[in-house]
């Protein structure tokens, strides 16, 4: 086992362990849906058993239906598969000193098991009679540029189709210009602008510009901060734990073993680290209003905060120690700025509302991109039959009793087909 592998295992064990401890102590949880339940437990309105049942109900489906399947085929984990599990482990262990220790140990073992399991699956896939890993790599292809379309979609749903089309046009133009004129010489050095980065930058400036036009004098967040000042105080008093967790996640992100979502994960699989950082940042903007307002009313913070720490990790790629320090400091800043930022959002209600439009449009964009990617991947595995499989899988999922989340349908369809083709090959039907 080389040093990098060892560091990776230590980091993932620490993330799983400390994350489970945070959930066990009610300091932070990853699932936004679990957060409002935590104060009910802390105030004695529900029992530990009910808390555990709720955390299982809201997180388990996402782990096995989204987190793990989209992580299969690469060794980069989607954060959901480890941090949502930490929520469950933390709430299932007893609320005692021993329980906390137990959470730490179980969480660490889970983390190691997950990383080991995924690398084992990758090596197993390579030994199959029909190796479909090369085909699977086509899955993330469309995402590369397609996600630059999300700001236009977000603008359209927030400010109407006309402004959406304008943003779409500007994004398109920015890509063309950056490709055509993006390489120039400065003092003999050749500088190349990243076309995807530039077009996304233009698109996001347009999106923020439109949203900032909506001024307001509301005080919903300020009101919350005042009513729930004790809960904000609780988060601040736990800063050291949150900062340690922040440091660990940032370090893991810098080692490219955890990505915050399937979009940056697929970009990282394609070794597009800068694009992954930009995508992670764009996603974080969408989550800031939700994370902050739920944190204020519950006194329980997000395990990865606003998820900006993932961006910091990617920018400090390959430097886990520096990343740990940067993530530690950044989480401290986030926690300290909690009230001020929330009050600031009141002045720009457009920006606050923008969050939900960003999240919806990102999910739609990713789902479509992964669907097309899955169609390409499946068609490479089994020409023509692949299209039948993916389209049928997508449509039937919509009718299922417990449908998978849209983003997971493409990747799962591709993996299932790959496994199925291997079985068919064994019985000589393929």
């Amino acid at each position: 086992m080389n040093v990098t592998t060892l560091i990776n295992y230590v980091l993932i064990a620490a993330v799983g362990g400390v994350g489970s401890i945070l959930a066990n102590r009610g300091i932070a949880v990853f699932n936004d849906g679990l957060r409002p339940i935590m104060p009910e437990y802390l105030e004695g309105k529900i029992t530990r058993k009910e808390l555990a049942a709720t955390s299982f109900a809201v997180s388990f489906g996402l782990i096995i239906g989204f987190g793990i399947p989209v992580s299969i085929g690469s060794t980069i984990l989607v954060a959901h598969s480890i941090l949502l599990a930490a929520d469950i482990i933390g709430t299932w262990t007893p609320d005692t000193k021993w329980g906390t220790a137990m959470a730490g140990v179980v969480g660490a073992i889970y983390g190691i098991g997950l990383l080991f399991g995924l690398s084992t699956i990758v090596s197993l896939f390579k030994m199959l009679p029909f190796n479909f890993l090369p085909a699977l790599s086509l899955l993330g292809g469309p995402i590369l540029l397609a996600f630059c379309a999300f700001p236009a979609l977000s603008v359209a749903s927030q400010h109407g189709p006309k402004k959406g089309m304008i943003t779409f046009g500007l994004t398109f133009l920015a890509y063309l210009l950056a490709t055509k004129f993006g390489t120039f010489k400065v003092d003999g050095m050749t500088v190349t602008l990243n076309a995807i980065g530039m077009s996304l930058l233009v698109a996001m400036i347009a999106m923020i510009y439109f949203a900032a036009q909506i001024k307001g004098d509301g005080n919903s967040n300020a009101g919350l901060v005042n009513v729930f000042s004790k809960r904000v105080g609780r988060i601040k008093s736990n800063w050291i734990w949150l900062s340690i967790m922040g440091g660990l996640i940032t370090a893991s992100s810098s080692m490219l073993i955890i990505a915050v979502d399937v979009l940056p994960q697929q970009l990282l699989v394609k070794n597009q680290v800068m694009e992954a950082a930009i995508a992670t940042f764009a996603r974080a903007i969408g989550f800031i209003p939700l994370v902050f307002s739920t944190a204020i009313v519950t006194g329980v913070y997000g395990m990865a905060g606003t998820t900006i720490i993932f961006v910091i990790g990617l920018l400090l790629k390959g430097q886990p120690i520096l990343a740990f320090l940067a993530g530690f400091v950044w989480m401290w800043i986030e926690v300290q700025a909690l009230s001020a930022t929330a009050k600031g959002l009141d002045k720009f209600p457009g920006l606050r509302d923008m969050g939900e439009h960003i999240r919806t449009s990102l999910q739609d964009t990713i789902a479509i991109a992964l669907l097309i990617g899955a169609a390409l991947a499946c068609n490479k595995m089994a020409p023509n039959l692949g299209y039948f499989w993916v389209i049928g899988f997508w449509l039937l999922n919509k009718k299922a009793k417990k449908p998978l989340v849209d983003m997971a349908v493409g990747p799962i369809a591709a993996i299932v087909l790959g496994v199925l083709l291997n079985i068919l090959r064994l019985i000589m039907l393929f």
Binding site: P36, L62, F66, P349, E356
Partner: protein, 121 residues
């Protein structure tokens, strides 16, 4: 007159369109707000029922409502691992007096007709 507020995070316009279609000509006020203001509307008695969707049916959909109204008033009717049956939903509404409902956006077409059936009589 029943007043329904759509909060949550995803597909609010679609939810409104579907609701309008399902409700037909019965007198119901439907308005869309951000999740925070929507939960406040229930708390202040400006609306009777809260409906919201997201990817988990609990997070973006219901987080603020649960935080402000308490989990005794909210229920996730569909999450990625569990979709409540019609009987269970009826019991949550009539038996337990739930007023805020969260679900995963891709179960919209299954869940909304049942909610309308029991909320709008």
């Amino acid at each position: 007159m029943i007043r329904i507020v759509i909060g949550g995070q995803m597909g609010k316009d679609d939810i409104k369109k579907t609701l309008v279609k399902l409700i037909g000509d019965k007198e119901v006020d439907i308005f869309i707000k951000n999740d925070l203001d929507a939960a406040m509307a229930i708390k202040n008695g400006e609306a009777d029922y809260y409906i919201g969707a997201c990817e988990t049916g609990a997070g973006g959909a219901l987080a603020m409502a649960t935080a402000l109204l308490g989990s005794t008033h909210t229920v996730t009717v569909a999450s990625p691992s569990k979709v409540l049956s019609e009987e269970e939903i009826a019991e949550e509404i009539n038996g337990k007096g739930k007023v805020a409902f969260g679900f995963t956006i891709n179960t919209k077409d299954t869940v909304l007709p049942i909610l309308v059936k029991y909320l709008v009589k």
